[in-house]
Symmetry: C2
Subunit: 235 residues, 2 copies
């Protein structure tokens, strides 16, 4: 006999306790919607197997799906689900260097990810941490007694013409532990707004098929102007 709470916790954890499902959720951390076939090929399992996994993840509330024609698009259900995957992935940590198969391809992909990437809907990697660090250093973000924007920080967002949604249940600011840097970076609604702004204005652009980002030439100038970040030093 088990306590109901234990059963529910176990059921939730079981969704991520399979390597294939875990890898699917990690792929979906890029914030986009993938088709079932894409995820099947990405994880290297048959279509029927992937379909089964996706049904379980959707049923468990971790994923949301939309059907369009003959495609089944699937994405992380909400920011809470994304936060959950992030938290567990951060705790699990990257595989020790010796364990992972090294090749020129994967090594350079890893370096690109460590440099700059999205984490669901906000900036991560060295770029994300540099942004967080710079905002803290300039008194826009307070980290010594928690993790919150200061009044100067609010003014900075207004100055940059980055709209901050004050509505909704989503917290404005949240700390997200960076996979590779092992330091917190800015998440929450403000982190998402900043990321969207940077992508729209082409301060950085997606690099490759995954979550990696690349700072553009004119973005390099703008990052320095806005926050004093030397993007070249991130390489």
């Amino acid at each position: 006999m088990h306590a109901p709470d234990g059963d529910r916790l176990a059921a939730l954890a079981a969704l991520l306790a399979d390597p294939t499902r875990a890898q699917m959720c990690l792929a979906l951390l890029d914030g986009r919607a993938w088709t079932a076939g894409e995820l099947a090929r990405h994880t290297g399992v048959g279509a029927s197997t992937a379909s089964d996994h996706l049904s379980r993840l959707v049923g468990g509330g971790l994923l949301a799906q939309e059907r369009q024609g003959r495609h089944r698009y699937v994405r992380l259900a909400d920011t809470r689900a994304a936060h959950l995957v992030e938290t567990l992935a951060a705790q699990a940590g990257p595989a020790p260097a010796g364990e992972r198969p090294r090749s020129l391809r994967t090594a350079s992909a890893d370096r690109a990810l460590a440099r700059a990437r999205t984490c669901y809907d906000h900036l991560a990697g060295r770029l994300g941490c540099a942004v967080t660090e710079a905002m803290t250093h300039r008194g826009l973000l307070r980290q010594d007694t928690g993790f919150a924007l200061t009044d100067a920080g609010l003014a900075w967002f207004a100055e940059q013409r980055i709209p901050l949604p004050r509505t909704g249940r989503r917290p404005l600011v949240r700390a997200c532990l960076d996979f590779t840097e092992r330091r917190p970076h800015l998440a929450g609604a403000a982190g998402a707004a900043l990321c969207r702004h940077a992508l729209e204005r082409k301060w950085c652009v997606p690099a490759g098929t995954g979550r990696a980002l690349k700072v553009t030439d004119h973005g390099e100038h703008l990052w320095r102007e806005a926050l004093g970040i030397d993007a070249a030093a991130l390489r």
Copy 2:
């Protein structure tokens, strides 16, 4: 073939994907060290089964153990592990009312837990949320732009003679989503210090064998004096 990160995430999730192990971790959220036998009885499995589960949890880094004589004491490894269990449990949520076996015993135990309890090492339940709410209302805690103590909040801790450790990698303040209230309450080093202070000064005392707390008569006066909290209204 799976990405190493996916495998590691799955391995971590698998630790909590079993109802018995999940219930063990929930029990350990009270912050105390339990013996293997206590956990075996609590979860209703045989001693050998419990031993096996504990070995896996320790091996996975979620639990830490100390052997004393013929006893094996086990506790959550660190605040990160506790935070992980809390996060998953909050996301899993309480079982719908219809599903759980109702009895007078469990119903009154549930009410006691909802009123006031510890959450690993800080205050939770209606009491924990009331404390957080009161601190926010008094300008000691800022929740509108994140979750951080204000300068007035730091002064309040000093005034109350509650020592705040400024050392260590543990964040001073963290928001922890309350199981029952579905609102954030104060966690982190400051939350733990406040809880320790309240227990030492007998503002509240453990009630029963679990994590439930009870506000004492003289505590009722002190909560009002310190933060304007009407402890009687929590009942």
